[in-house]
């Protein structure tokens, strides 16, 4: 497959690098957890129950025809190949749990991939809206439109005291998880992240790395999301999250300026070395690729590197994951071959930029 064709097929709308504060906020995500009144939750239901839930949802799909749900496509997990599922996971459109463990799991996907509705995950219905940049309100607005259309057709499990009932009590109430993916190399380099995380936690928000294991955040990419879903309105949750995110943005900007002032040569050196690695590598592991991509993106945002579009971080962090690499290669790859493929994909992608 040619790189142009691969990119065309692989890129989602939310990777376009637009939207407010998109130099630091990569994406905004809203998730609403909903359940059907007359069915057991997926945590305990039988194969037969799960089938009935999916059939029920399939019956209402023709009625989900208003904006923003025109032309949605139903993908059933047991009809997809492993690699196709892995690619959906790497694009954050479905959860690993839905891909691997669900009974009659499925996903309703909008054409531009901004909306995905998971069926039979931990809850019967999980509506997800993913937009680029800091656009939580807009994402919530879209999620609510989807929610309202579905509610016209089904009976939700809802209770006046507890709100929307979910299989896990950590989601009960609004069922809302709002999260923002942020690129924070300045705060990591100036070693402020370790102090920042506990203070964000104290505000009832959760910070974690998206890529990589444990406390390590590959590519200096962090996800910040709300934890409380009960006793706070959707608008209040967004207001609080936005406040913290905006504060982190200004701290990140300040950190970058500090680095520019105190050690500009070292910064330029780091940025251009990383660009050198990415343009010339023949073998590269995901960890090194993530670090170099982060450096280059920071170099673009701070004006050192010109003529390369800032979307390369968003794009290549996703497209250099194992599933995508194997799809690009057209078949399974051993870990070493993946590192070779990854290097090739990155070089080709950067070459496209030069010839633009």
């Amino acid at each position: 497959m040619s790189i142009e064709k691969f990119l065309n097929q692989s890129l989602s709308n939310w990777m376009n690098g637009e939207g407010p504060h998109s130099d630091i906020v990569l994406t905004s995500r809203i998730r609403l957890a909903r359940n059907l009144k007359d069915f057991l939750f997926p945590t305990v239901f039988s194969q037969e129950d799960s089938k009935r839930v999916l059939e029920y949802i399939e019956k209402i799909i023709p009625f989900l025809n208003e904006y923003p749900l025109k032309n949605i496509e139903l993908l059933k997990m047991d009809q997809l190949q492993e690699l196709q599922k892995q690619v959906l996971v790497e694009k954050h459109l479905i959860s690993p749990n839905l891909a691997k463990e669900s009974l009659n799991g499925a996903c309703l996907l909008s054409e531009n991939e901004n909306i995905s509705i998971m069926i039979n995950e931990e809850d019967h219905i999980r509506i997800q809206v993913l937009l680029s940049g800091l656009q939580l309100e807009r994402a919530l607005e879209i999620a609510n439109m989807v929610d309202d259309q579905i509610e016209k057709q089904v009976d939700y499990a809802y209770n006046e005291v507890y709100g929307y009932l979910t299989s896990c009590p950590t989601n009960v109430g609004t069922g809302l998880r709002a999260s923002v993916m942020m690129h924070l190399p300045g705060l990591v380099m100036t070693q402020q992240m370790s102090q920042l995380i506990p203070s964000i936690n104290q505000l009832g928000l959760v910070v974690r790395g998206i890529y990589g294991e444990g406390s390590e955040a590959l590519g200096n990419i962090f996800q910040i999301s709300n934890q409380i879903t009960l006793g706070k309105s959707e608008q209040d949750v967004l207001f609080d999250l936005n406040g913290v995110v905006e504060q982190i943005i200004s701290q990140e900007r300040a950190a970058r300026e500090t680095i520019r002032k105190t050690s500009e040569v070292q910064l330029e050196d780091k940025v251009f070395r990383s660009l050198g690695v990415l343009t010339n590598c023949r073998i590269i592991e995901s960890k090194e690729a993530a670090q170099c991509l982060s450096d280059v993106r920071m170099g673009i945002d701070m004006g050192y590197i010109k003529n390369i579009s800032k979307t390369i971080l968003n794009e290549l962090m996703i497209l250099t994951q194992p599933g995508f690499l194997q799809q690009y290669a057209g078949g399974p790859l051993r870990p070493f071959d993946r590192d070779v493929r990854r290097a090739k994909l990155i070089r080709e992608r950067l070459f496209l930029e030069r010839n633009k």
Binding site: N35, K37, F39, L40, F41, T43, V44, F45, S46, Q47, E48, D49, S95, P96, N97, K100, E101, L103, E122, N144, D147, D148, E151, K152, D155, Y156, A157, Y158, N159, E160, V161, Y162, G163, Y164, L165, S167, C168, P169, T170, V172, G173, T174, L176, G204, I228, T229, L230, G231, K232, S233, E234
Partner: protein, 179 residues
């Protein structure tokens, strides 16, 4: 009854395990139940950290541990009649089996919810149009009444009249619904 696992100590905890809708009874002593519980968490997929946190809450908080102990001893009485979930089982897995569990474990739930949600135990967000029924209409009326008040203060009487009609319509709907 002896513990199924060690066959030595008396079984004090009784679980109903449901896998793909099939119920199995398990009778364990406290030590073995503890071990099984840990094992269960080890086997869970990595995405379930929030549930580990839930489990952590029960273990860490001293008062809570006590409530847990008491609740566990009464667990036979406390079982959801829709899905068969017991309270002790819920404490292990951190998840409910069906909407009715929220009613069954209502009394036990409040302290748990408060710890999970920063002291909150009552929903104050979106109300669905259909499932929310009269509640949705009541909230709508409240909002309209506020709008009406501001319009009157601003002396925009024409708009105020429209809003008043709308409020009347909703109030009529409410009466019809309750009749």
């Amino acid at each position: 009854m002896l513990c199924e696992e060690c066959q030595m100590r008396p079984a004090t905890l009784h679980f109903t395990k449901i896998i793909n809708g099939e119920k199995t009874e398990i009778h364990l002593c406290e030590q073995c139940a503890q071990e099984k519980g840990n094992l269960f968490f080890m086997n869970q997929s990595p995405g379930l950290t929030i549930n580990n946190l839930l489990a952590g809450l029960f273990n860490v908080h001293p008062n809570f541990n006590q409530t847990q102990q008491e609740a566990v001893q009464h667990n036979e009485l406390l079982q959801c009649n829709e899905c068969g979930m017991t309270f002790s089982r819920f404490l292990k897995v951190g998840k409910f089996g069906c909407p009715n569990c929220y009613l069954t474990f209502h009394d036990q739930l409040t302290p748990i919810l408060k710890r999970l949600h920063g002291g909150n135990w009552k929903h104050s967000g979106k109300i669905p149009k259909r499932a929310g029924g009269s509640l949705y209409i009541k909230k709508k009326i409240d909002i309209l009444k506020e709008t009406l008040q501001t319009l009157i203060e601003k002396e925009e009487f024409e708009k105020a009249a429209e809003i008043r009609d709308e409020i009347r319509m909703y109030e009529r709907q409410l009466q019809e619904g309750e009749a």
